[in-house]
Structures are given as C-alpha cells and as structure tokens.
Symmetry: C2
Subunit: 337 residues, 2 copies
C-alpha cells in the first residue's frame, strides 16, 4: 500500500497525494476531498523510510542516557518521548551504562538512523566519542558537560543554586556540620556538584570540611558506603547532602541499618526530585528539577543549534527548587551514637 495505489484510487497522481498529506502546494479542495477519501478507504499508512532515504530527514531524535535504573533518567526519557510523539517525531534511545564503548556504539546507531539531533545525558567521556556527530553536522545538546562548541549546546543544571537552598534550609534548622556524598570520581558533573556544595557552604558562612566529603556512584550502594564511612568520623556531621536522590536513598538505608533515625539524629537532602522521593516510607527532602523544563530546554537548544550550525551553541541553565519533606529536621548537635 503506497501513494501510487492511493493516487490510482483517487484518480490523481502520487504527487497530488503527497501534497494533500503534507498540506503543501496547491490542490483544489474537491481533489483533496477525493484524495482524503481514498486515504481513508485504503487505510493508508505513509512510509517515512522513503523520505529518510531520499532527503535524509528522519524526524528522529536520539537520547543517550547512562543508566536506565536511575529513575531520574527514566523521567527524562518519558518527557522526551512524549514531546517527540506530540510532534510526530520519533525517538532513538541508547543506554551507555557508563561504558565508553557503548557510547561509541550509540553514536554509530544515531548516525545509521540519520537522527536530526542528539541529547546526551551524563557525558562522562572524552569528546572523541561524539566527534562523528559533529562531523555529520548533527545538532548535539549535552546536559551538564559545561562546554559548548560549534554544533553543540549545553543544558546545565544549576547545582550552585540548588545546594545553596539546601544548605540554607539546613542552617536554619541549626545544622553546622554538613557532610556531602558526591558522585563517581573523575567525571565532570561530580566535580561540578562537589564544587557547588563547597561554594554553597561558604556562601552560607559555614565551614567546608573536606573530612566530611565522600564520593559515591550516583546509585544506592554508593550512598550506603558513603554514610557508613562518614559515621566513622570522630566528629560526625548532623546532616548530609548528596549528589542525587538515589545516593540519598542509600544514605537513608544505611542510617536505618545503623539504627540512626532520620531526621531525629541525621538530616538528609537529595538532588533530582524523582517521583519516588516523595513515595518512599520516609519521604526525602530534595532539590526538584523539572524534567519537563529540562527536556524543553534541550529542544530549544537543539533548534537553536540546528539553525546556527556554524556558531557555538547555547548555554542554558536549569534551576531546581528545594522541596522540604520528612528527611530533614532540627539539628541535634549533642548526638554521639
């Protein structure tokens, strides 16, 4: 079933059918009626593959995420898919599991399917891996790579602002010794989050103490290990801020195991605002990032990049907001157990 068949059925040429379907060019209303009827009667489904082949247009956008076990990325995926489908566009999803060879493979998949743009989350690797996208002039938007170049924009999550809100909140509750459990070592966004925390502490006039900082892995186990290690410090913190919500879940789990009640003995603040942060037994105070806003920023940057392929891309900042829930409470400085 192709346009030829529809054209025959309507007694016109395939060009006219194409014009009616795409709403371009001039077609007499009467003719258009006949074509629409034929479309209906034959149950015509267009074949976009032909257009992709001939014109390179695929109406497909790629999304590369590091980890589908992290609900934050799932929420982004959900928004991304939804936004695309609403515009009759298609999604090409790739998951790298933070393995460089998988990123390289993902980029290749993007090229093969002729995507019209790529959004890359968790860009923890060298630019080399995504170089082929630039060569093919495919608009790229990175999230939190904090770097733009010709053909590539960046959407940055404003950790500085987020952690400032978190620290301020804890300070108001009387906390002075605040710990931090960050992301994996050696990747850009971990350094950014760590730096933002330090800055937030200083901005609040609190002492930033390197001994109260641990690295994690953006997953539960890292949170568990991090808090275990922090609890061994001779002078424990009374509150902990984490690199993301999963890490905070790990922290709460670790504290539960150690018999330390949250928030009575220890306050915990996450980052991301995943839906489950409000759904677990003990709900989590966190910095909520609107994934919808983030995805919209990605598309805006993508459009801009596409329209300005010879210029450096946009830099958009996304600000989160503190959501206070059950995991934070008044500091008990005299705690020691």
């Amino acid at each position: 079933m192709n346009m030829r068949a529809v054209a025959r059925h309507a007694g016109v040429s395939s060009a006219t059918v194409s014009r009616v379907i795409n709403g371009v060019g001039c077609v007499r209303e009467e003719t258009a009626q006949r074509v629409r009827q034929a479309l209906e009667e034959l149950n015509f489904v267009p074949n976009p593959v032909a257009t992709t082949l001939k014109y390179g247009r695929s109406r497909t956008y790629g999304l590369i995420v590091p980890d589908l076990m992290n609900p934050f990325f799932c929420e982004v995926l959900r928004e991304f898919e939804s936004a695309l489908v609403d515009n009759d566009q298609e999604l090409l999803l790739a998951c790298t599991e933070s393995i460089e060879s998988k990123l390289i493979g993902s980029v290749r998949r993007m090229l093969m399917r002729h995507v019209e743009g790529v959004v890359l989350l968790g860009s923890e690797f060298d630019t080399r891996a995504i170089e082929p996208l630039f060569k093919r002039r495919i608009p790229v938007v990175t999230v939190d790579r904090r770097r733009v170049q010709v053909g590539s924009s960046d959407v940055a999550i404003d950790f500085e602002s987020g952690y400032r809100q978190a620290v301020q909140h804890l300070k108001e509750l009387g906390h002075r010794r605040i710990g931090f459990i960050g992301g994996s070592n050696g990747i850009v966004t971990s350094q950014i989050r760590h730096g933002a925390f330090r800055q937030a502490m200083q901005a609040a006039g609190l002492t930033y103490d390197e001994r109260l900082v641990r690295s994690g892995d953006y997953r539960i186990p890292g949170g568990i290990a991090g808090i275990r290690s922090l609890l061994k410090e001779p002078r424990r913190p009374t509150a902990v801020i984490t690199a993301n919500d999963l890490t905070a879940f790990g922290v709460m789990r670790g504290l539960h195991t150690s018999g330390i009640r949250v928030p009575d003995k220890m306050s915990v603040v996450g980052f991301d605002g995943i839906a489950l942060s409000d759904a677990v037994n003990l709900s989590l105070t966190t910095i909520q990032i609107s994934t919808r806003e983030m995805v919209q920023a990605c598309f805006k940057a993508l459009d801009h990049t596409k329209a300005n392929l010879t210029k450096r891309g946009l830099e958009i900042s996304i600000r989160g907001s503190l959501v206070v829930r059950d995991s934070t409470g008044i500091a008990r400085t005299r705690q020691r157990a």
Copy 2:
C-alpha cells in the same frame, strides 16, 4: 558516503562491498582485504534505511509500555534495549500512559517504521487497537493478556505461584487475616491478580474475605488509598499483599503516616521485585520477577511467532520467587491500633 564510494576506493563494485560487509556470497580474501581497508579509511557507516525501503527489513522491534514512571517497566525496557543492541537491532519505544488513543498511535508508529515484531506490556485494551499489526503479519507478543491467536503469543506472569509463596510465607508467620490491594478495575491483569490471590488463600486453607480486598491503580496513590480504606475495616488484616511493588510502597507510606509500624503491626508483600524494593528505607518483601528472563521469553515467543505466522502463538509462563525482606514479620493478632 555510500557503498559506491567505498567500492570506487577499493576498485570493486558496490555489490562486492555489500558482500564483504554482510559476509555473504563468495569474495576472494585478497579482495575482501582491500574492501575492508577502504571501509576503514573512509569511515564508512552503512545506511540501513535503504535496506528497509527495499526489503522491508528494519531490524527494529517495538516495545509498548503503559507507564515509564513504574520502575518495573523501566527494568524491562533496559533488558529489551540491551538485548536488541547486542544483536545489532534497534528499539522503537512507545508509552501509552494507559490511554487507548496513544496505543493506537503507538501501533501506527510501529507500522510506519516497519518493525519486525512488537512486545506489548499492559494490554488493557480491546484487540481492535492492535489489529493492524496482525493484518501486516507483524509478530506480536503480549504480556499477561492471557490470550494467543494467529500471529500472537503471550508471556504470562505466574501470579498464582507468586501469591501462593507470599501467602504461605505469611501463614508461617502466623497471619490469618490477609488483605489484598489489587490493580485498576476492569482490566484483564487486575482480574488475574485478584483471582490468583483468592486461589492462593484457598490453597493455603485460609479464609478469603472479600471485605479485605481493595482495588488500586498500580501506582503509589492507589496503595495509599487502599490501605487507608482497609484500616477502617472493623476487623483489620494483619498483613497485606499488593498487585505490584509500587502499590506496596504506597501501602507502607500510608501505614507510616497512620503510625502503624511495619512489620510489627502490619506485614506487607509486594510483587515485581523492582530494584528499589531492596533500596527503600524499609525494604520490601516481594515476589521477584526476572525481567531478563521475561524479555528472553518475549524474544523466544517472537521468533516462534515469526516462524509460524499461520499458527496460534506460544504461551510461556514466567514464575517469580519470594524474596523475604524487612516488611514482613510475625503476626500480632491482638493488634487494634
């Protein structure tokens, strides 16, 4: 950059290049070497779109899920994507949000992209919506639709076995009055889950009491509402089994809000075994389903259906296993909080 260019560069015809790339037909090793070198030097990326157009083969499989906010579906997605990529195949993801018009749209997307098979999770709608797939002879695998037909297989999760394990576990802990918070009303899998629970109660020699049963929505709010309602019963249950893990999270949240400690005053058992069930503050006893096993069963059924397009599809059953964690404990029958 196409095969012609590679062929020119290697001094052969494009047919030979195709043969080398796909490893079919006879090519002299010396010639193949030259072609491989040209492929390398020109950084050739094949264009599968052309093959799809000419032969209809897309090497793409569709996955339709109802809800990307449910981690269970994300875990399935993860396995599905990973399995496809390992076989140089592509994923087409669609999310229906349990809206029939979106399912219809998803099916259309599948047709337009010429998928070679579709896995449909949460088939809560009439067959009519997926009819176009059968018409086009696209192999279909449903999960828990409990119905096969020509061109369509079904992978069934064995709720009967799962709930039998759960009930047995609770019975051994001394529970007699066990409540159930099921899925949304009026969809097939909810009826199956409900029936499986009833059967499990009877099989264990316990009284199935309709008054201790509520429906939910497979999400947190349904669990919260369900347990709130159950707590109003004059003779409360001492344990609750749910339709899925998210519902169980809602139950635990609702119990926490009501000041009812788990498992001291109430035991909770979920179903799915999502990763987070072991990560929340109070870990959840649940029936673990291996999403990997499930996805493999889907591909097996898909392959079978493809090879037997004129026969009724396979029926595969997936069994889960009970994972006992912190949310279940000895029954306190004299509770009356």
